[in-house]
Every structure is written in C-alpha cells, then in structure tokens.
C-alpha cells in the first residue's frame, strides 16, 4: 500500500497504486474498490481508489489528428500541458483549460473541468465527441451523445465512477497565436465586480480575482481579467507566434511552516497584488497564454505553501438570482477569519453538460484555506448558505462536504446512480470520494 493524496494533500490515505501498461492490464487491475487517477490534480479524494488506484499517465499517446477539423483522438493520460506544447505551435489549443495545465484528458473529462470561458463556451465535456470506457463490469465500450448516451452524460463529470476512461475523441480550437489580448478591470467592491463580469459576458474569457481579506467598504474588491485570443497582427515585433512554455522556474522546495500564511502576510500580499493590478487596468495588452490561463503553474509544488497538513479548496456555485447576497455573506465571514489565501476566484458559469457536472448558471467562488483549527466547522457553515441558495460544491476540489450537502446540490444524482449501477452492477469502481458521498454503507 502507498500513501496517496490529492493536490490539497488532505486527506492522505492508503491505497494500492498500480501502473498498468496496456488496456488489457487496466482491465485486469480493476478489482472491487478501484478508480482511475490521472495527474493527481483533483484536490481531495476523488482520484484515490478505496482499495486500488489505477495510475493512467503512462497512456500518453495521440492516436490521430486531423488538422483540417482539429479533431483529435488520444489516450486518457495525455496531459493538457503536452497538448498545448505539441499542438499550440501548429495553431490548435484545447477549447477549455482549467487553472492548471497539468491535468490529464481523462481527469478533465471526469471532472468536466471548466475554464475562464464557461459562461459562453461551456465546459471540457462539450468538446468531447466520444469516449472509450472500460466499465466496472469489464466491458470496453465507445460512448458518445449518440451511442450509449446515458453512459456518456454520466461519464462527463462523473468523477471516474462509471469506469476507466481509456481514450477520447475531442475537438481542438484553431488559433492564430498562443497569445491573449488581456484587459484588466479594477472593481472596488463585490457589486462592482459582479457588474463588471455581467457586462463582459461577450468576452471569450473572464475571471475575477477577489481580495478576500478586504473588509467593510472594500468587501469583494476585485481585479477582473478579460481575454481574447490575439491575432497575428496584434503581436509585438519579434514575438513568436506561439510563446515558449515556461516550465516552472520557482519551486516551493519544502513544506512551509503553517504559520507562513497568516492574516498579516495575506493582507500584505493582497494589498500589493491589488494595487499592481489596478495600475494595469484600462487598456488592452497582449500576454502569453501561460500566465493568463495558468498563473500558478509557474510555481512548482505551490501546494506546499500551506504546510504539511495540507489545504482545502472550497469552490461553490450559487444560482444567479440569489448570488449577490450569498456571496456577500460568505465573503464577509471569510474576511473576518482572515485566513483564506490569495487564490480567491469569482467567475460566471453557464450550464453544465454532464449529469454531475459542477457548473450551473450563476457565480462560482473558490477559496483556499489551510487545514487547521476549526476550518471544517467553518466550511460546514458556509455549505449551509450554499445549499439554502440552491448551490453546490465542485467534487474535483472537495475533500470534506457532507452527504446532505452533496445530495441537495446534485438533483440528477439518482439518475446518475442508476446508470452507474447498470455499468457496474457489482460496484467495482469505488473511490474514497464515492465511499464518502455516493456508496451505500
């Protein structure tokens, strides 16, 4: 057995990790209590098998690519970082990228990840045409919107619980360059931030960074980052059409003492960050896609900044109607605590595609907290606000929500469970997350 954890390094649990080298070996590896794992960037316990974890990153081949249509068939272990570095210079990028490029295609499908364009263009699953799935029952089936569509919509966003995703066919976006024309808007409080996001619905990409330490009049003050794919004629002289991938330069070499992040250091950081951003507000400028989409990827192992005990990311989505009041309430409570850190993100979402896809039309707020003190109780309180407003939590980030919170947030759960049961009657596919939230006990 091996100690395994997600990106948040909480919880850390025992699971046998197997690294099969062929699809046949994947089939043989699936025993009762298995789940697939991609690059381990789910924060909590989603990619840890209750008994056995099947590591899929060895399956990193592209099977075919058609430059005329952007259609690509690939194995599930291919990382988005690899796709971007390989196909970016040829003028193609994934339609949807989350906040890190170090995720596998299989993981991105299983979590139906969203990016800064979800409000207009939907999530990762929308650009997936078909999936080769190895079910818990031992069948290998091709699933799509037309063929085995129940299994398809259960697998997109299904957290790996319908089986092991082996391959997928998806579409890539044709781009002229690997650069983004960015506009920064500074918003002095939450109302201004939400107005700015609302007003910029037509922007391809939009996201707000929120200073969740700011209080009172400044509550919810934000920097909003809008982005469009830059055309070739917008690049500065001497810029390559596609920027070089910045491999992580900085690294966090050790677990920092958990006191490193405290209300004073976070306040100082956020103050500086807000002021520097506000100075850039106004005109458009062209930035590389790497810092625009993946600001934290340039710091290797940034999860260690929260110390040995790990951290929790709380990401909720609140339906549009009640969003302003609930978000204000949450931010007010968080700012009073003062220990939520610099990664606080507010973003508008649209409809999700899969039965358990996280997005729904409204606003999502993501907050990071170190694991210490009464944080679990505090987050339970926040969850009650989320549930009361008809919202839900993102399973890919979750390590601690209750069954009640989960069941309230995902009305399609019973439908999902029925499909899962038909694909895996014996219940072989089980993760630590499914044990916590799905499985009969």
């Amino acid at each position: 057995m091996t100690l395994v954890s997600g990106w948040g390094r909480f919880p850390v649990v025992d699971s046998e990790v197997l690294r099969p080298r062929s699809f046949e070996a994947v089939g043989e590896a699936v025993v009762t209590g298995s789940v697939a794992r991609g690059n381990g960037r789910a924060y909590g316990d989603a990619a840890i098998g209750s008994a056995r974890t099947i590591a899929m990153t060895g399956f990193d081949r592209v099977r075919s690519f058609d430059p005329a249509t952007g259609c690509i068939r690939l194995e599930a272990g291919v990382l988005l970082s690899d796709l971007i570095a390989t196909f970016g210079p040829r003028g193609f990028l994934p339609f949807v990228v989350p906040g890190t490029r170090f995720v596998s295609v299989g993981g991105a499908i299983a979590a139906d990840v969203h990016g800064k364009n979800h409000h207009g263009e939907g999530g990762f699953g929308r650009y997936v045409d078909s999936i080769l799935l190895r079910t818990g029952q031992g069948k290998t089936i091709e699933i799509s919107r037309e063929q085995n569509s129940d299994a398809f919509f259960a697998t997109v966003g299904g957290m790996g619980l319908t089986g092991v995703i082996l391959e997928a066919t998806m579409r890539l976006r044709s781009v002229e360059t690997g650069w983004i024309r960015e506009r920064v808007i500074s918003a002095s409080d939450l109302d201004a931030a939400m107005r700015a996001l609302e007003a910029s619905c037509s922007a391809t990409y939009s996201v707000a960074w929120i200073d969740c330490v700011a209080r009172g009049r400044d509550l919810g003050r934000s920097l909003i980052y809008l982005g469009e794919h830059a055309r070739i004629d917008e690049l500065a002289d001497g810029d390559d059409r596609f920027p070089a991938g910045n491999n992580p330069g900085l690294a966090v070499p050790i677990d920092l003492p958990s006191m490193t992040l405290n209300r004073y250091s976070i306040r100082a950081f956020n103050e500086l960050y807000y002021r520097m951003g506000a100075r850039r507000a106004g005109g458009d400028h062209v930035v590389s896609l790497y810092p625009y989409f993946f600001p934290l990827d340039s710091i290797k192992d940034w999860n260690r900044i929260y110390g040995r005990r790990g951290f929790l990311q709380h990401q909720c989505v609140i339906p549009e109607a009640g969003a302003r009041d609930v978000l204000g309430d949450i931010l007010d409570r968080v700012s009073k605590r003062g220990d939520a850190s610099f990664l606080a993100v507010l973003k508008k979402l649209g409809h999700g595609d899969g039965l358990l896809s996280f997005p729904l039309p409204g606003y999502t707020l993501a907050l990071d907290f170190p694991v210490k003190g009464d944080i679990l109780n505090f987050l339970d309180e926040i969850d009650r606000l989320v549930v009361a407003a008809g919202g839900r939590l993102y399973l890919a980030k979750d390590a601690r929500q209750s069954r009640a919170t989960f069941e309230a947030g995902y009305p399609a759960l019973s439908r999902f469970n029925a499909i899962r049961k038909s694909l895996d009657p014996a219940g072989n596919i089980r993760s630590k997350l499914s044990q916590r939230l799905f499985d009969e006990v």
Partner: protein, 246 residues
Amino acid sequence: MTSRKSVLVLGGSSDIGRAAARAFAKAGYDVALAGRDAAALEPDAADLRARYAIEASTQRFDVLDTASFDGFVAGLPVLPDVVISIIGLLGVQQNAESDLAQATTIIRSNYEGPSLILGLFAEKFLGRGNGTIVGVSSVAGDRGRASNYVYGSAKAGFTAFLSGLRARASRGGVHVVTVKPGFVRTKMTEGMKLIGPLTVDAPVVGDAILAAVEKKTDVVYVSGKWRLVMLIIKALPEAVFKRLKF
C-alpha cells in the same frame, strides 16, 4: 521519402526510446522505431505522425539475433542520419550470479548486440561520409558494483566500444555519442528505490540525446550531478570500495 533528416531508434518501445523518438520528431526528423515486436510499436509511430506531421515507421529488430544484423541494415528503406541504441536489460543480478544463461543474456543484450549493430551502422555511415551514432550506456559501467556487476560490466564494455568507435569514426565525419542516463523513472526501474535528486524522467533523457546529437557532444551524463557522483565513486580506492554495500 522526404527531405527531412531521419533517425532510427533501436529499442523503440522503451520509455527512453519513446522519449527520444518524440524529441527527434518534434525537431523535424522522420523516425523509424525498431523492436522485437514491430506491430506493438505501431501505436507509438502513429503518435509521432499525429503529433509532429512527420513520417514514422516500425521495424522488427532483435538484439540477440546477431545473425540477422546484416540483413536488417541492408533491408532498411533508407539509411538514417542518426541511429540510437537504447537497448538494455537490467536482469536480476542474484540470478545471473549462478544462472549462466541469464548472465549471458544480460551481457549479450547490453554489450554484444548493441556494439555489433552500431559497428555495422558505423561502416555504412563512414562509407557515406556522415552520420551520428548514439549508444545509451550506463553510469553502472563506470565501476563494477557488487549489486549489479554483470549488467555494469556489459555496459562498461559497451562504453569502451563506443569510445574506440568515436576515435576512429570521427576522422571519417561520423560522430559517436555515449549517453549515461543515471537513474530514470521507467518501466525498467519501476519498484526500485531511486534517489530523488539523482533521478530524471524519460523525456529529459530524450531531450538530452537530441541536444547531444545537435551539439556533437561526446559523452553525456544526463544529470551533471552523476558526473560528480561517478567521479567520486571511480576515485575510491579498491580497498574501500569493496566494503561498500551498493
């Protein structure tokens, strides 16, 4: 046939072989992957074609079947610009100590086969007046250790072969690169206890091989730390070295 340069990777199904193939394909080379099971290499060839819009093919090659080598070289559709041997067999030292068949296979897989096939390519390249030969040897060949001296001695022989070949071939416009990867996370080392700071992933080795070919480097320690480590290990007096348990 294309106007691109071409590379032949012997041991194309290994993790380092796949990584080297990707590095060269990315740099615009056509690639031929060779291994015992050519059909099993086809998905990797398809991967290279899809990623890099180059030509990629597969060839059957068995390093233990030395009698087939002349025919293998003569049967290639094109004599490559670069040939890389990544073939190696770690084996199990404890078994090789008493099982002569096992020891013979380790020695032949790491020394005899790779040396003979690269020697054949050297003749062809010298006849043409250009070409690059890359042999992936091992830091284990720098000094025989109690824990893996059958493998290590075969690698030592391979390293010496490459060294001599380089001296001879360089006068004829042919360059020879010796690569000593150190610890690499691969199928071969899965389950072994590797020392983190001295361990690299296969793509790092692939990129290092491409860089060595382009810069005409003679001997490459993929991680510079290994050059230092082996310098120290080689400098230890035998009386001290023989007491070490590794």
